[in-house]
Symmetry: C2
Subunit: 244 residues, 2 copies
Amino acid sequence: MSTATPPDADDAHDGGASPAMHERVLEAVGSAIAAGSLPPGSRLTLEGLQQEYGISRTVARDSMKVLESMNLVYSRRRVGIVVQERRLWNLFDPKLVRWRLGSVRRDIQYSSLTELRIAVEPIAAAGAARRASAAERARLVYLAAELRRLGEAGELEAFLAVDIEFHCLLLQSCGNEMFTALEGMVAEVLTSRTQQGLMPFKPRNEALQAHEDVAVAVARGDAVAAETAVHHILDEVRNAMGLH
Amino acid sequence: MSTATPPDADDAHDGGASPAMHERVLEAVGSAIAAGSLPPGSRLTLEGLQQEYGISRTVARDSMKVLESMNLVYSRRRVGIVVQERRLWNLFDPKLVRWRLGSVRRDIQYSSLTELRIAVEPIAAAGAARRASAAERARLVYLAAELRRLGEAGELEAFLAVDIEFHCLLLQSCGNEMFTALEGMVAEVLTSRTQQGLMPFKPRNEALQAHEDVAVAVARGDAVAAETAVHHILDEVRNAMGLH
DNA sequence: TGACACCAAAAGATAGTATCTATGGCTCGA
DNA sequence: TCGAGCCATAGATACTATCTTTTGGTGTCA
């Protein structure tokens, strides 16, 4: 105990259960850029960050290095840290997706993701039909049945959870690591859709049937049928987006 | 060399345009992880990195922060910096894609990307049909004609360049920023396919026709036709991958 | 006596602070 | 136009604080 441990009441300024200082800064600056309140061309300096957030140079540097690796900023001597044009951002970085979903630009990010989902999921289902394990196939069938049960009972919240698991399982079992990496984003989209009230109160029978068709097709190993059935699931989403 | 700041004659590697020290370390460690020579669970320490690469703590930290933000590693006190399981990597980070394409795991990355392309491009074409500018539509038609000319002349290299521009233009004009962000990856895949000799010496007439169909459909604003025509382009690729 | 469980202290590593030198590249004035 | 000067990052170094794994010691029970 000799090790001092000064009670140091002023530890409080640290924000208590602080999730690491540099994360706080990263979140603050990153989301400001994502939201557009720090538009492309804006300049920051390490000095300024240190003062604004009460941090040391190291922490400021760490945060900026991460933003730089996401191509949200670049830094040049004598100039400082400059916000990049949007076109160059790493739009697939999960942190950036999260920031954008939390900003006023929500809608753009949401529709981009939905379109991505429309693109990827059918192919993922085809992959799953070819490569899923026996356990995964069985689970898909089970989840589809659960979806019908919960959907017909109108239990939207439980329905959402199972729906997420269903779609994520497809992405996991499709044998394409990059598709699997989209799991979190699909979960976000589905959650968001329900929260925004874009889901019908009771899922349409066609949608429930389509989920069952997907599960059966994957279980049978019928890639073409699986792909087609997922298209049917997503047609509803497409219509909601005003496509087709 | 001691620690004392030698102007560093031995910094020969620095010869001229040195891409910043921390990038060198980032590249070295990152590609080692991507290639699997630092398997998940491996441990590094800042101390070790400093000695191995002859860098200061600052640089070592910067590099690790970037790898951490890509989820390639995590760091814990008392343990060091630990390589993450593959499942958690940010597989869409362009740096990681590049490292993987440059490693012995090339093939996995290549087929993941190809499948992604199969998924995304049809939807991108549909988007382009709806939202492309007049200039973009015209350019697509021009590029399709160029493709036929070069294809029939057997000029594979020029054909590749135009093919890349064609597909990238689709991604740019589709109105979905996330699709646009995949441009670089599609270019990689197409280049790689030609380099690997996976292209027929003369592009098949069906493929040339399909490109023209895409261009015309986009120009007319016919989303469904554009999507279908891209499917035809990619069928060849699908077959080459043993899908369907 | 030996084996096991539990607790406390040591040690090893990052997290963060503070400060210094080197260098590139704007800006402005002659 | 060209050069001096200044500003801000790049990078180095040396701390302190803190977390957490290891390890070793102690006590209890078979």
